[in-house]
């Protein structure tokens, strides 16, 4: 997660004008254009869902005795993996970047954009937890700090072999790529990581996306890239039957766009693209 370091920064002023009406923090009346799901972006967890907030390393909400996995067709599930680096949630590793606000906000908007009967709360599950297999779509973030244990490697392999779909996001530069690739090679030593070109079905599963954008972290709108000369890439890994099972958003940070879409400081085109890509990845993962 990137803190809004300079909310009044000139380069984000235009976005603030657009999103100002829904930006709770700005609180000023400004003319605005409503973008994709923009009116919802300021919302966090809906009040109607009044369940207690249970926490824990292996999935905060699964610890809630009043909740059972399976009640809803969809759970936005975040992978808990071992690693180094930051993490804002209860001293978690890099897996917890943007957690839980990013997940909650993503769900709020996603549910209005897509007719998705989704659980309203975040759901983080360890790669080594057998319960992971109850959630066929998985989101892993900041994998540049990943250092999986053997159990996690086994868990992820079993998950993907059984039919799970992994969305990877928010890691930058060659060093982080090497770390992630090393970890993914531990799962599948022989499978190729390939580019996912714009002619792939995933770009038209819900929205028609014609360009891969580099989505910046909050506060980096003027210079989105977090590394020298890096450009956004969407890569993937196919299973032995030619089915896409891993999608890798490299040199981009969709998660921050989801998390800060309501911020006047965050440029609308980026959050729009991030939500479009998010919707496409989920619709694709649930049907292919």
């Amino acid at each position: 997660m990137r803190r809004p370091l300079h909310a009044g920064f000139a380069s984000t002023a235009a976005a603030a004008l657009i999103l100002g009406a829904c930006g709770g923090e700005a609180g000023e009346r400004r003319p605005h254009i409503v973008g994709v799901g923009a009116e919802l972006m300021a919302q966090e967890a809906p009040e109607a869902v009044g369940r207690p907030a249970y926490g824990g390393e292996r999935g905060p909400r699964l610890a809630d005795p009043s909740e059972t996995a399976g009640r809803f067709p969809f759970y936005w599930t975040r992978a808990i993996y071992s690693g180094y680096g930051r993490g804002w949630y209860r001293r978690g590793g890099s897996w917890a970047t943007d957690f839980p606000k990013g997940d909650r906000q993503f769900l709020v908007v996603l549910k209005r954009l897509v007719r998705l009967n989704a659980y309203d709360w975040e759901n983080a599950v360890s790669l080594a937890d057998p319960n992971l297999r109850k959630f066929p779509v998985l989101y892993a973030v900041e994998v540049g700090g990943m250092d999986m244990t053997e159990e996690e490697v086994e868990g992820l392999r079993g998950y993907l072999d059984a039919g799970g779909f992994l969305i990877v996001d928010d890691f930058w530069g060659q060093r982080q790529w090497d770390v992630f690739e090393y970890n993914l090679r531990r799962v599948y030593p022989d499978r190729q990581i390939v580019d996912i070109g714009l002619d792939h079905e995933i770009y038209s599963a819900y929205y028609d996306i014609e360009e891969v954008m580099q989505v910046p972290a909050i506060g980096r709108a003027s210079r989105p890239a977090e590394c020298w000369g890096c450009y956004p890439q969407v890569k993937g890994m196919y299973d032995d039957r030619g089915r896409l099972s891993v999608i890798i958003n490299f040199n981009t940070d969709l998660g921050d766009a989801w998390e800060w879409a309501e911020s006047p400081a965050y440029p609308l085109p980026y959050s729009t693209y991030a939500y479009e890509m998010g919707a496409n990845m989920i619709v694709y993962a649930m049907s292919h």
Binding site: A48, V49, T68, G70, R71, P73, F74, L113, V114, R115, L116, N117, P130, N131, L132, R133, K134, P136, G158, D161, A162, G163, G164, A205, Y206, R241, R243, I282, V283, A285, M286, S287, H288
Partner: protein, 761 residues
């Protein structure tokens, strides 16, 4: 017994049954006798009030004996007669129908063939039976098997007929002899009728015409030792690669509870082999055997039990059945109301099945759809079909979690008609917007559902339960839920699968629906219906109430090698498309015939909205085994809308290929194919034991009598007294029946004996 009866009563029981009692004495004599009787009786009555050594009881008993004696005497003096209507000699005809089928050549335990009795008892000039019949009647002989023909003598019998059609034989003889006074028909057969037509249809005209049928049963009522394989039913057509589960009925006599093998094979290889433990004598047991059909085309499947040592008839140990294995790709429309993982995993489960095209229409937003596996860019471009023509292109429809209000009333009616009129299959999946929770109550589709909807329990805190799924007894026998190649392993496989979740509480099925899978909530309470189906109109509807069968693939308790989820969905979707009719269909009334036998081809012709077409031009192209092609016009039957029929006789041995084309105003409506197999029939060796019940029934319902070779000697006389035709009334005296004389002696002796015993002499 009959001899004793005839000695005592002077005539046989049958004569008494047919005759009426009368009295020969004039009325005046009868009056005097009556008065005398009364006087005598009152004189005897005074006996009872006389005083003496005897008690009142003694006098009563003795008086009764005397009165009875007097009564017998008076009865004799009234000259009782039996009034009979008997046929006039040589004025009436009798038809003798002799079974000319192959089963008549079966041997009895003593080594003689059934046909030997025919030669012995019915050869004119040699047989006393025929001699007696000829004295009384004019005889006409018929032989029957597939049809019935007049014959001049027994030398024309071949005992090579492939069927025994009793009804047809009776009809033919009745019609042939309808213009002459007919006293009755004599039917000589083992009674092993294998006509599809009900026998009643032939008996009613005989009853109406008052023609009694006298049946003579030949052969044994039980053939021992013998094993017989019952009739095998296979679907007319299946998709290539389908697994068929077939129930085989095996009956034995004389082998005890032995275990025998059953082999299933086609023309090229053995498809399956099972063993079956035979039941007690005469009691059938059912053996379930599964096999896969992988090669497209018309396939002959043979089921066979190898002949057992000492078995008397081994030709009833095997059955042939034909099935058309279709290599087509069948289209199924799966409409899903929201993104759900069922779509992904169902698609994956059947992706390598070349015979299934699972077209997915998934609503992703209010009026936004994701189309998958469509044939071209125009397919479903405006969402769910709005016309019958568009919907009826699919053979089956799967409805996921979609609320009823999404559809227009016309679309709901169309979905119901898809099942009832088009004959498609409808599969309803569980989900938050399915069944009562999706507002389907009161819609036309509710009627189609095999489950009974309760009150909706939707919303945030709606019904939710995890259930462990297990097959019901019906499920264990159903091909759609066979997760294991071995029948014994099916229940264990289901038990090994993780629980699934349900959000639609459904515990009751409609009358006539069958539950295949149930879900246990825990101890007690009704079970959740997980999988149930029913026939509805021309099609079938199925409810699968779990919302996440994908757990059978993804769950950590399921090993990655486990194919349960894939097998389940492949079988389910194949079951959905199996038996779904096309717009044009042709079928033969028999799949196997003997060369020369008549085959009737019946076609049903519908347009693209499955409305019957009566003005089509329909032609059948028949290709014989040697390649000769014959074009036959197929005419509308008039009796049934959309039904066309034609008859033909295959002349060669082998497979006949029939292609039927229907056109209307020059535009093609549809094409269908079927096959007919011309081969020698073994029908006569199945159920070949003497069917006494059938023969007795024919006799009883027509007023005739059933005979065996042992008691057939009375047949001529019986026809004389019971037959129809030209008759005369005959009065037979009864006063001199020995039984009356014996009765008088008995009564007198009884009185005398009583006196001696009581010391009243």
């Amino acid at each position: 017994m009959d001899v004793i009866f005839e000695f005592l009563f002077k005539y046989r029981a049958l004569v008494f049954e047919q005759g009426e009692l009368g009295f020969g004495a004039p009325a005046s004599v009868r009056l005097w006798l009556g008065l005398a009787g009364l006087l005598g009786a009152s004189a005897v009555a005074t006996y009872t009030i006389a005083r003496g050594r005897s008690s009142v009881a003694d006098r009563g008993i003795m008086a009764a004996l005397r009165v009875a004696l007097l009564g017998v005497l008076v009865f004799c003096l009234m000259q009782p007669t039996l009034v009979l209507s008997t046929v006039v000699p040589q004025q009436n005809f009798v038809g003798v129908l002799i079974d000319d089928s192959r089963s008549m050549e079966l041997e009895n335990r003593d080594g003689t063939a059934r046909s030997a009795f025919v030669a012995e008892a019915f050869t004119p000039g040699e047989s006393p039976l025929i001699e007696q019949l000829s004295e009384r009647f004019v005889l006409r002989f018929f032989r029957f098997s597939d049809g019935a023909d007049r014959i001049d003598g027994l030398q024309e019998l071949t005992f090579d007929g492939t069927h025994t059609r009793l009804g047809q034989a009776l009809d033919a003889a009745r019609e042939e002899l309808s213009s002459v006074p007919l006293s009755g028909l004599v039917l000589v057969s083992d009674g092993a009728d294998n006509d599809d037509r009900p026998l009643t249809e032939a008996l009613l005209p005989l009853q109406a015409a008052g023609v009694p049928v006298f049946t003579v049963g030949v052969g044994e009522e039980s053939i021992e030792p013998d094993i017989e394989l019952g009739r095998v039913e296979l679907p007319r057509a299946v998709l290539e690669g389908s697994t068929l589960m077939v129930d085989l009925v095996v009956t034995q006599n004389g082998f005890g509870r032995a275990t025998v093998p059953i082999v299933v094979e086609d023309d090229t290889r053995i498809l399956a082999e099972e063993t079956v433990e035979l039941g007690p004598d005469g009691e059938p047991v059912v053996a379930r055997i599964g096999f896969e059909l992988t090669q497209p085309g018309s396939r002959r499947v043979q089921f066979r039990i190898p002949p057992q040592p000492g078995e008397r008839v081994d030709r009833n140990n095997q059955r042939n059945a034909w099935v058309e294995v279709r290599g087509e790709r069948e289209k199924i429309l799966y409409f899903e109301g929201e993104p759900r993982f069922e779509v992904k995993f169902m698609r994956r489960a059947v992706e390598d099945d070349d015979n299934l095209q699972l077209v997915v229409l998934q609503r992703t937003a209010e009026s936004k759809f994701l189309r998958l596996s469509v044939t071209d860019s125009t397919e479903l471009e405006f969402g769910f079909p709005t016309s019958r023509e568009e919907l009826y292109r699919y053979r089956s429809l799967v409805l996921g979690s979609a609320e009823a209000s999404f559809f227009t009333h016309d679309q709901l009616q169309m979905i119901a008609d898809f099942v009832s009129e088009r004959g498609g299959s409808l599969l309803l999946l569980g989900g938050h917007s399915s069944f009562a929770e999706g507002g389907w109550e009161g819609t036309p589709v509710e009627e189609v559902m095999p489950v009974v909807l309760g009150a909706p329990q939707g919303g945030a805190d709606g019904f939710f339960a995890e259930v462990k799924v297990e097959p019901t007894p019906a499920g264990l026998a159903h091909p759609a839920v066979q997760l294991d190649a071995e029948p014994a392993g099916v229940a264990a496989r289901w038990d090994s699968l993780p629980p699934v979740t349900v959000v639609n509480p459904l515990t009751e099925v409609r009358p006539g629906a069958t539950t295949l899978l149930e879900g246990r909530f825990g101890e007690g309470g009704p079970n959740q219906v997980i999988l149930a189906f029913q026939r509805y109109g021309r099609g079938k509807s199925i409810a699968l109430t779990a919302q996440d069968t994908w757990l059978w693939q993804m769950h950590a308790d399921v090993s990655l090698e486990d194919q349960s989820h894939e097998s389940f969905w492949k079988q389910m979707l194949r079951w959905l498309v199996d038996g779904v009719p096309d717009a044009v269909q042709v079928q033969a009334d028999q799949e196997q015939v003997e060369p020369g036998e008549t085959v009737r081809l019946v076609a049903s012709v519908h347009d693209s909205t499955y409305i019957e077409v009566n003005d089509a031009s329909v032609r059948a192209q028949v290709r014989s085994p040697s390649g000769i092609v014959e074009e036959l016009p197929v005419e509308w039957t008039v009796e049934t809308d959309g039904e066309y029929a034609v008859e033909f006789r295959p002349a060669e041995m082998g497979d006949y290929e029939i292609e039927l084309r229907a056109e209307r105003d020059g535009a093609p409506i549809g094409v269908d194919q079927t096959f007919i197999h011309a081969a020698p029939s073994d029908d006569e060796y199945f159920g070949a034991a003497r069917r006494t019940d059938v023969l007795r029934r024919i006799a009883q319902e027509t007023g005739g009598r059933f005979y065996t070779p042992e008691d057939v000697a009375t047949l001529p006389e019986d026809i004389t007294v019971t037959g129809a035709g030209v008759t005369l009334v005959e009065e037979n005296d009864l006063w001199d029946m020995p039984v009356l004389f014996l009765l008088m002696l008995l009564l007198m002796g009884a009185e005398w004996g009583y006196r001696r015993v009581r010391g009243l002499v």
